[in-house]
Symmetry: C2
Subunit: 197 residues, 2 copies
């Protein structure tokens, strides 16, 4: 990886380094049906890595279809772990596993998430697709609220996935809804590596 400034003709200028007066662990929800939720969380891992921070991403449901980030994150020389807990999206994309199995996996993921959140080992914990898992009843609202409420004050907790529950977004500091304006699949274009998976 190389980083460079474009060759400026004017004299160079000073870089501002921000530092908040108070460090606060944020609750961030990235929801909506559009492309860019998990990738946004991955981007925050890169950003955190630059600050020397430690991240853990627990992916609910995902784990049956290879995604580039599995190997991409391996190539990031930082304290970051990715845990795949699932067997794909329950009830869609021709997924063959019964609800009970998806729920069992998601329940195990809740336990893992709790462990990661309370471990004191991470600056950022990402619960990828947990909003979706809640909406599909693979996890319960009380469980998600408890995870959020058990968060240490300095830990950033990021919850992604469509259909975020209003009681979850109510607890969050920052909520983005990624709206799908259009998507390549509507033109019959198959998912492309590097972009879609």
């Amino acid at each position: 990886m190389q980083i460079k400034k474009s060759e400026a003709k004017e004299p160079s200028f000073e870089i501002t380094h921000l530092e908040p007066a108070e460090r606060t662990g944020l609750i961030v929800v990235i929801t909506g049906t559009g492309k860019g939720k998990t990738s946004s969380a991955l981007g925050m891992i890169v950003r955190a890595c630059g600050h020397g921070m430690k991240s853990s991403m627990v992916q609910f449901m995902k784990g049956d279809i290879y995604a580039g980030e599995w190997d991409g994150l391996k190539k990031l020389a930082c304290d970051v772990e990715l845990i795949l807990t699932g067997k794909g999206f329950c009830g869609i994309q021709g997924n063959p596993y019964p609800f009970s199995e998806h729920r069992e996996n998601a329940q195990r993921a809740v336990g893992l998430a709790k462990e990661k959140i309370q471990s004191g080992k991470f600056d950022i914990v990402i619960l990828d697709e947990i909003n979706n898992a809640l909406n599909l009843k693979l996890v319960d609202l009380d469980q998600v609220l408890e995870l959020i409420e058990s968060k240490p004050p300095r830990l950033h907790l990021i919850l992604t996935g469509r259909d975020a529950h209003p009681k979850v977004t109510a607890l969050a500091h920052t909520v983005s809804e990624v709206k799908e304006i259009k998507h390549a699949y509507q033109e019959g274009i198959e998912p492309q590596p590097g972009i879609d998976y």
Copy 2:
């Protein structure tokens, strides 16, 4: 970085590896006022990295305030380059530089973007904040349309930034609008490293 499957009690299952019948270079626009546009583009770099693909990110306007991704991307063992061309957001955040200087920088960035797009060296080129730069008249609509239209068929081109021009989104395959539902700054919380920068 470690990656692990949660300890499954059931037998392991097969991972599906998708491969599209046809590789198509997508035009992706990530716009809107919410958090998660640049971070989504960074996430696509991680994903692409996992597939062994090469990425170049040209950041319009940014470059005056340190962001974690500058060092985070350096720690990604992949063919990726990040080019900072600007001096911050024109006209906001107490930015001291005159419009003419921002425009000059952005014009230079257009030249660089053209070079990157046509070089044949990359699988993905990201023009970060170019939508915003167009809206602020630092670059012209014709210039952006020309960049898009000059794209080799297999190259993925990602354009981020709020206020994407309708003629730009019209050319895109995938468009996401990241809506700000709420943001921590509304509670008076300062930008936090790893999340906001």
